[in-house]
Amino acid sequence: MSSETDEFVPVGDPKRRLPGVEGVWVFVMADMTVFGVLFGSFMLGRHQNPALFDASRHALNPNFGGVNTLILLTSSWFAALALGAVRKSRFGLAQRFIGGAFLCGLAFAVSKAIEYTEKLNAGISLLTNDFFMYYFTLTGIHLFHVVAGSVVLLVLWFKARSRSFDPQRPVVLECGAIYWHMVDLLWIILFPLLYLVR
């Protein structure tokens, strides 16, 4: 069942092409660079006060972070499968996969809301200390990306329903998927940084 899209393509082969459009990659790389700087800033903050950061980290529940990672990975998988389905003109299947990706995004947001509520009820806020300033800021900016991505997925779901993708070159879906995978990969680094580094 190996399709053309699954094959390894050597460098320089004319079959190599940029997924999505250049603009989405510029946006994604700019966003990832900002996050890269924030990751570095968090580590420098930790370097200056390792005892405080380690003690504060223990107030976080790694089960939330771990499950959220599994949710986003599954969401990314659905987005990748949706793209494969559209390329085979299977729009109904693609619609279901995009729906799955959207529901995962929603589950992530709900889980984060529960986690935030738990922290705020325990008297922990942005102002508690430097660690929690980073925790709420970094996860808050990331959550904003998740919400924006979920809106994009909703739009893509309607587009799949009206079959308005070109199976030869579904650029809009590719761009949406690239953005959604970026949201996933940023969390893959953010999660261990906040919850697991000791």
């Binding site: 460098v11 190599r16 990659w25 370097h47 990672t69 893959i188 680094i189 261990p192 697991l196």
Partner: protein, 86 residues
């Protein structure tokens, strides 16, 4: 069944397993904190590369994009590990 044989599914399964290993095994007290942290961060870097190459389809993209993505990952991983270990 067709779904199970797709490369995206194999990559997804590997990513899920790696996440479970780092979250619920390596975070325990079986190894020193430094070894566990470095291992967790390196596994995260491998996971990010899998997402880039397979899900974002960077492996089929022009060389320039592959270099930019790998460059970002290398820079971020090196920055985090350097600050952690120094």
């Amino acid at each position: 069944m067709e779904l199970l044989r797709k490369p995206a599914t194999i990559v997804w399964a590997a990513l899920m397993l790696a996440t479970c290993a780092t979250t619920w095994l390596l975070s325990g007290n079986s190894v020193t904190p430094e070894v566990a942290t470095v291992a967790i961060l390196l596994i995260a870097a491998v996971k990010v590369r899998l997402v880039m190459t397979h899900f974002m389809e960077v492996r089929r993209a022009p060389l320039a994009l592959r270099c930019v993505c790998d460059g970002w990952l290398l820079a971020v991983t090196a920055l985090i590990l350097t600050v952690y270990l120094v």
